[in-house]
């Protein structure tokens, strides 16, 4: 399915249309298709997450509606739509109603630039990665809009934490993208490709060996920062349900709450798509499997890992999260860029490029990653007692007759 193909199809069906109408109708057709597919994926993720979380927690999970409970999300959505849509009387109504949409749209926009095949429409956008960074930055605004307009102290607490966290994790995320772009640029230049190093197709093209092997540190930083950006465990500060009720969307109900929920479950899919394009080779894979299927498989695996992590790890405190961003991830990402630039300059300055050189770079990068994480953890890590040694108190320390 290609944008040009659809345009041609419309031209042959209804000849002599103005070209902008053809363009618009093709665009609407494609976005209709993509949005529906993505929303269905979101519903499926809800099912997957609930089932898998339940199974990890040794429960059964929803299994009543349809085969293995597959229709549970639909039942959920019908229930949500049927609920009363409450707007608090003190709320700022316009912003209150706008916030869910502002939160949902960027997530959908991300899917526009994901290269599902080598010639997908917006995948070749020559600033694709900048587009993603820019568009995902919107969620900060949406969270704050939702919280501020609903006039709820819990929501405000969630949003205050959220804005601080989301803004600080933008920095390491962008810096880890820089090293990806740097590597892509080097490799594309040597190959003599005409693709832009900022476009996602270009990044996929440059991954002779997947970037998560070539630069583990960058991948780690990106995954960490991205899970903070979508506020999943262990960074789910914004809606820490045991502390703040529901955080920024405490006051929402009905279909608006459903949109928040959908976004919450779509965000890992979008993030997984970005990660699999940037670090896992996107549509590259085994040659017998079609590219889009291997991309979907990668997305699926990454989403599974996200769910697994969410089921296992507790949440960090807000000051610890900020410390982690500024004292740990930021130095780490600077080390990453620096080492990557130096290595590329040393190994890839010749006009040809061989896989052995890339493997050597990868090896050195793994060593750098291990050493730098070790040192930073030593310097900034939590200095608690490693073992719990009981210390008897002198007060009321009873003497046992039997011992």
């Amino acid at each position: 399915m290609n944008f040009n193909n659809i345009q041609n199809l419309i031209n042959t069906l209804i000849p002599s249309l103005p070209s902008w109408i053809v363009f618009m109708s093709a665009a609407i057709f494609i976005s209709f298709f993509v949005i529906n597919a993505v929303v269905m994926t979101g519903a499926l993720t809800v099912w997957l997450e609930r089932r898998l979380l339940a199974r990890i927690q040794s429960r059964l999970g929803p299994n009543r509606w349809g085969p293995f409970g597959l229709f549970t999300p639909i039942a959920d959505i019908i229930k949500m739509i049927g609920k009363e849509d409450i707007v608090p009387s003190t709320a700022d109504k316009k912003i209150f109603n706008l916030a869910p949409i502002v939160l949902l749209v960027p997530v959908l926009l991300v899917f526009a630039v994901i290269p599902m095949s080598s010639n997908s429409f917006l995948g070749q956008l020559n600033i694709g990665i900048l587009f993603i960074v820019g568009v995902t930055g919107f969620n900060t605004l949406a969270v704050f809009m939702a919280a501020w307009s609903s006039r709820n102290k819990y929501a405000l607490f969630g949003a205050m934490r959220g804005v601080a966290m989301l803004l600080s994790y933008e920095v390491p995320m962008a810096l880890s993208i820089v090293s990806v772009v740097l590597t892509t640029n080097f490799i594309l230049n040597i190959e003599g490709s005409s693709l832009s190093a900022l476009s996602l197709v270009g990044i996929v093209e440059a991954q002779r060996i997947p970037f998560f092997i070539l630069q583990p540190l960058g991948c780690l930083i990106f995954v960490t920062a991205a899970s903070a950006e979508m506020s999943r465990a262990p960074f789910d500060m914004i809606e820490s349900e045991s502390e703040l009720g529901a955080g920024y969307h405490t006051e929402y109900s009905g279909i608006k709450f459903a949109i928040f929920q959908l976004t919450e479950f779509l965000a890992p899919v979008a993030t997984a798509a970005i990660i699999s394009v940037m670090f896992a080779g996107g549509i590259r894979g085994l040659s017998i499997i079609p590219g889009s299927i291997s991309l979907i498989a990668k997305i699926f695996i990454i989403v599974l890992i996200f769910i697994w992590i969410r089921a296992t790890w507790p949440r960090l405190r807000v000051d610890q999260i900020m410390n982690f961003a500024w004292k740990f991830l930021l130095p780490l990402s600077l080390i990453n860029i620096f080492s990557q630039a130096v290595l590329l300059q040393i190994f890839l300055s010749s006009s040809s490029i061989s896989n052995t050189e890339l493997w050597i770079i990868a090896g050195i990068n793994w060593i750098i990653a291990a050493v730098s994480i070790f040192i930073l953890a030593k310097v900034f890590g939590h200095k608690g007692r490693a073992k719990n040694i009981p210390i008897p108190s002198p007060l009321a320390n009873m003497e046992f007759k039997s011992e």
Partner: protein, 368 residues
């Protein structure tokens, strides 16, 4: 331009996901920091002490079930021991052993709940460790169902013994349980205590000094976490605890992690206790028959046991009638809550929930 800030007051509760029932906490925040905290109790006041004045001595057993509903066995035990002391009733030796087995099982169940909910409050989504704890607790509740037909509101004990003897399948289940449980506890501990996030969230958070703890008459795991080796089972052995060997686990500096750590170790000790008791238990009667509306002599009695949450005591004044003249309950949850403000001021909002969870209170016992 100087920023103008002002403290925010939040009513945490009475409906809040992590207040363990209906508890209200008026907290004043300066940013994320707590500057003041004022607990408001009484949302679950059911007048247990007053109701007890109108019930016969046997009927009060059903009231004690509802004090701390995750450890009904020890509530029953504390109450019936007081009545036995008041009326000088002898308890058959088999009943004493069964009582100890039951209360140790209940201690495991209660500590599992405390640990699980602490983890839930730390933010594991959906509470994976909580579910693992519930899975093990479910087995204990199944055993209680075999003993007395109910899972939570047990009413298993009566003044003078127990309501009925354990069925044979109970002993088989108990054997399986005690052989499997240490493995699960080890697994739970390595899931929790090795986790860096848990360590960062709990170590040196909510430190309670031993001096304050003793002065405020804190008891139970919360006291032992501060390093004070005080356990009624050792200090004033009741029932047959004298003939069993066990350690009293203590913590080092009384922070949130220590409270969790003491609980996990107490689970291990409880399993040891159950094993010893099962080996030693004699056969024989399990109940001294006393009349239903028996009248104890005029006088007073106080007796307390080491409940999972601390020292649970009953003080009963008898005027010679069929129901007590006054029945006072010294509930550990209530007294452990009194240091809440000392722990909270200076902590952050996220710590509030964790500290409150680590105290392990049940609102039914706080408000009575």
């Amino acid at each position: 331009m100087p920023l103008k800030t002002e403290p925010v007051t939040i009513n945490l509760g009475p409906q809040h996901p992590s207040t363990h029932g209906v508890f209200r906490l008026k907290v004043t925040f300066d940013g994320e920091q707590i500057v003041d905290a004022e607990p408001v109790m009484g949302y679950m006041h059911r007048g247990t002490e007053k109701l007890a004045e109108e019930r016969s001595y046997v009927q009060i057993v059903t009231l004690t079930d509802r004090l701390d509903w995750v450890s009904s066995m020890t509530n029953n035990l504390s109450y019936v021991r007081t009545v036995e002391k008041l009326a000088n009733i002898d308890v058959p030796i088999r009943a004493q052993y069964l009582r100890v087995i039951c209360s140790e099982l209940q201690r495991i169940a209660s500590h599992l709940i405390a640990t699980g909910f602490l983890m839930q409050e730390l933010g594991t989504f959906g509470g994976t460790p909580l579910m693992y704890c519930f899975r093990e607790r479910e087995k204990i509740l199944d055993m209680f169902e075999m003993l007395c037909g109910a899972r939570v509101t047990l009413s298993y004990m009566r003044p003078g013994g127990l309501i009925q003897d354990a069925p044979p399948e109970f002993w088989e289940r108990l054997k399986i349980f005690t052989s499997e449980m240490p493995g699960y506890v080890d697994e739970l501990e390595s899931l929790i205590s090795d986790n860096e996030v848990v360590l960062a969230r709990t170590k040196n958070v909510g430190i309670l000094s031993d001096r304050v703890a003793v002065d405020a008459s804190i008891t139970g795991p919360m006291l032992r976490a501060t390093g004070v080796r005080w356990d009624l089972r050792k200090a004033h052995p009741y029932e047959i605890y004298n003939s069993l060997h066990f350690e009293v686990p203590i913590g080092s500096n009384g922070d949130t992690f220590d409270r969790y750590f003491v609980r996990i170790n107490e689970i291990r000790e409880s399993i040891k206790l159950i094993n010893q008791a099962v080996e030693q238990i004699p056969s024989g009667p399990i109940r001294t028959e006393i009349p239903y509306f028996f009248k104890p002599p005029v006088g007073t009695a106080f007796s307390s046991v080491e409940a999972p949450k601390g020292e649970l005591g009953f003080y009963i004044v008898s005027d010679g009638g069929i129901s007590p003249y006054r029945c006072h309950i010294r509930s550990p949850s209530f007294i452990n809550l009194t240091v809440l403000k000392d722990l909270l001021v200076g902590a952050s909002m996220a710590d509030l929930i964790v500290i409150f969870g680590s105290i392990d209170v049940v609102m039914g016992e706080v408000d009575r």
